[in-house]
Amino acid sequence: MRLTQKIKVLIVVVVSLFFSLSIAEAGVSGGFIESAGSFKFGDDKAEKNDTNLLELRAQLRYRAYPEILEEYSGEAFIKFEVLADGYDESVSPIVREGWLSLSPVDFMDIKAGRQIVTWGTGDMLFVNDLFPKDYLSFFIGRDDEYLKLPIDGLKVSLFGEKLSTDIIVMPVFTPNNSLIGERLSIFDPISGRIAGEELDRFYEMPPKTPRNLVTAIRVYRSYRGVESALYFYDGFYGEPKGIIDPLRERFFYPRLRSYGASLRGALFGGIANIEGAYYDSRDDSDGSNASVENSSMRVLAGFERELPRNIGLGLQYMVDKLLDYGAYKRNLDPTAKARDEFRSLLTVRLTKLLMADTLRLSLFNFYSPTDSDDYLRISAAYDIDDNIKATLGGNFFTGKYDHTEFGQLEGNDNLYLRVRYSF
């Protein structure tokens, strides 16, 4: 049996064991049924589908407090989904979360199993949160929460008088749900053009060995309303930023080690944050290998405050600097288009609550001055009653060039509607 399978079986066994043992009172349980559909209307360069989202999703949540773990504040949680996907014409069960948590001693919490981990100070931008993302869901109009993918692992949290620490160990690396040309057409660097489903890419996963264990650590402190943190990550890039064989479209996930820090606090009647990280591309430390991503630095600064008329404003500026840029240029295939040394991104978020908070309007724009591309997300979410919520939204991409992050998605514009019944 492979290591992943072993882990999956272990999670299922442990969690079901505690559920069967727990005659204890069941805690919160609930869920929803949601139908979602989109209309894709852009000037699509490759895909001819008129939708990339047509699905019915049911979610069930169950929480239990096993009696035998009462002394240790034990808690078991399962979030289970069934997704009937009209695009894939498939029905799949999804264990989105399944974990057990407890406090063996006063100053320690442990959470084991499938869980979602989020940290860092960015709003939809990530510097030190290197946990897996699902940008496909993000771009096609699924709920924001689906941008985050769960990890399988163990989280140990230690709480001190001044400093607290989270240590997360993931026996098996989980990559991002990368764009592969399905649902969204993307730029293919090999052929140098926009491509869709005909892309036959292969992303090779790191071998499942103890050496490939992924670790993430955060040490943080809150003092007089100022939150500071240090971060460390040892694992792999979430995207397949390494090329094995260009002609056969084979890619891999290079090794990544990251060191970072963040600060967040009140400033000028709002909240200001700054975060940075150094990404050490360990398979190409000196930048001489053109097939592997170079090391880089990333810095993010943000500010958020309420404007008159109760409009929420959020601004962020993020810069990536590719290191060893000289080596990168020297070793680049002369026919390939060179990346810029710097890439910057500016985001604006505007939110407004109306009708006693039952109507929530949101606009989120990503603009890159260096790449000359733009991504606009808008949505209006309306609570029809306490149980039924309808969300109408859109994703719009523009760009001067085909090879940039949002520019490649030009033509994948969509308008979507989601209706969710929660119980």
Partner: protein, 269 residues
Amino acid sequence: MRAIYFKVLMVLLGVIFLPSLAVGEDKITADDIIDRASLANYYAGDDGTAKIAMKITDRAGRVRTRELTMLRLDIEDGGEQRFYVYFREPSDLTGMVFMVAKKVGADDDRWLYVPAVDMVKRVAAKDKRSSFVGSHFTYEDVSGRDTSDDVHELVGIETVNDRAAYQIKNTPKDVASVEFSYYTAYIDKDNFLALKAEYYDKAGRLYRTVTAEEVSVIDGVPTVTKGRVSEVDGGETTVEFTDVRYDVGLSESIFTERYLRRPPRKWLK
């Protein structure tokens, strides 16, 4: 030596006479009443926990409900406080937590925990007059309006719900920061609970009334256990507090990131 005797004498005199002056009926000022009302309404005990059920009815008669559990800790009476608000219902908000470090004379620190993505978000300070969780209550109704934001004037004594109450007119110092021109509060003469508050708009018209519908004595503390906000133009929110407890021994550590990510079940049961 003589100076010390004099000081001691003055202190003794002070101890004997000052309290009687301070609480003397004729001498109590509007500011004293408002300060004592603030303590009675928002600082009872050193800490407190309660379950809150809200029923929000809009102008069209549509009803929504909210169920919350609130934990409160006073760092200093009349001063800094911590609030932890855990959402039970409706289902799509279950597990969400809103936490506030309330300050006096400075912006509060606020956090929101979003359980679906295990995210702790810092929230920018909001307009204190904006709606609390979509109800007709404002943030200020829930955690108290800064007593120094208004000029208080004792108008007289009125009877509200068969109780004698001080009638106080409160005029905001910064008129532009609020939607009312003034409000009249009726403060129970005996226990200093706010029994009623009437808000007048810029045209001097009554548009909003907050009332205490039921008062119970819990652990020796007079407590509003049912309240209502009604808008003259229609729409109202009723609120009911159950399982109210005081001095349960909440520690400051509850109000940290640890317990945002992992709600303290002991206090939320």
